[in-house]
Symmetry: C2
Subunit: 154 residues, 2 copies
DNA sequence: CCACGAAAGTGGCATATGCCACTAATTGGA
DNA sequence: TCCAATTAGTGGCATATGCCACTTTCGTGG
């Protein structure tokens, strides 16, 4: 018993990943909160910003997120006037989104705060280790979890 | 442009972590779903199982989760009869929980499925790399994100 | 040109998480 | 002993995410 008893380590990759996500999420949220945005919302605004008036499906794919979930998450941002949606010219099924002037300003504001969180985190774990971690995570997010073709008998 | 355009890489550690969590979460959820449990619920049952009739606060700490969030997450499991709560003998503020007979059976059932997900994942990224990843994530979850003592003038 | 199946979103429902304001029970002094 | 500060949970409210059932559009083989 060193001090506060180590956290409940688990052999489950999923549980461990979620645990870390909760902790890191709260940290980024705290630092970014003065802007009124949550870390996830900041990430979404950023993704829209770096894309070219992306279709919702495009964003969902880039963020490895369910399309309907993206729709839900987008609502408060549209409601608050940071994002606006419009129909694609050629395919009326497609809905594209972009940042409004306010959204752009808010992104700027939040980016300053995000930088602080990012720097604080990387100062703690090390820039290189953070990069390594992201690489691992990107790999996990890109994996193809198809059923291992469990012997489909001819 | 190799094939499907790499996912929207982001320099944000938080966004990257969440993205991976979404993807891995869906994978574990899919595999575990025949039991009727979500991956998170499985993790919670497991945590309760390996603890000794833990107090809610104890679980919350181990899982690096907000106490009220834990309370919410616990509700469906109590409703479905997998977990039962009871007041601590010495401190009536404390609420302890334990698995019911059904909860134990469900945990057993789900563990078989979990093993499949766990093995499939580790077969893809490698057992050692998975262990390394968990180690990094445990470290992230254990970090002390206190304000960097930003010069509190005497 | 029309019926069909695929593609893109929407809405409803349920869980996952957090924060905040409260309530109840304890613990520490004065 | 009695009240103030602390501790443990609860409930309400809001966002984060997913799945499923639809609805609207497209794209196509007839």
């Amino acid at each position: 018993m060193t001090k506060t008893a180590m956290p409940g380590f688990s052999p489950c990759n999923n549980a461990t990943l979620r645990r870390a996500a909760r902790k890191l999420g709260r940290f980024y949220d705290d630092v970014i909160s003065p802007s009124g945005l949550k870390g996830t919302q900041y990430g979404l605004l950023y993704q829209i910003y770096v894309s070219n008036e992306p279709a919702m499906g495009t964003i969902a794919e880039a963020m490895v997120m369910d399309l309907s979930a993206l729709g839900h998450t987008l609502k408060p941002l549209i409601r608050d006037g940071y994002v606006e949606a419009f129909a694609d010219k050629d395919d009326r099924r497609v809905k594209r989104v972009r940042l409004t002037r306010q959204g752009l300003a808010k992104l700027d504001e939040a980016t300053k705060l995000w930088s602080i969180a990012q720097q604080r985190f990387e100062a703690m774990v090390g820039k290189q280790r953070a990069a390594d971690l992201r690489a691992m995570l990107d790999e996990v997010a890109a994996l193809d979890y198809e059923a291992p073709a469990a012997a489909l008998p001819g």
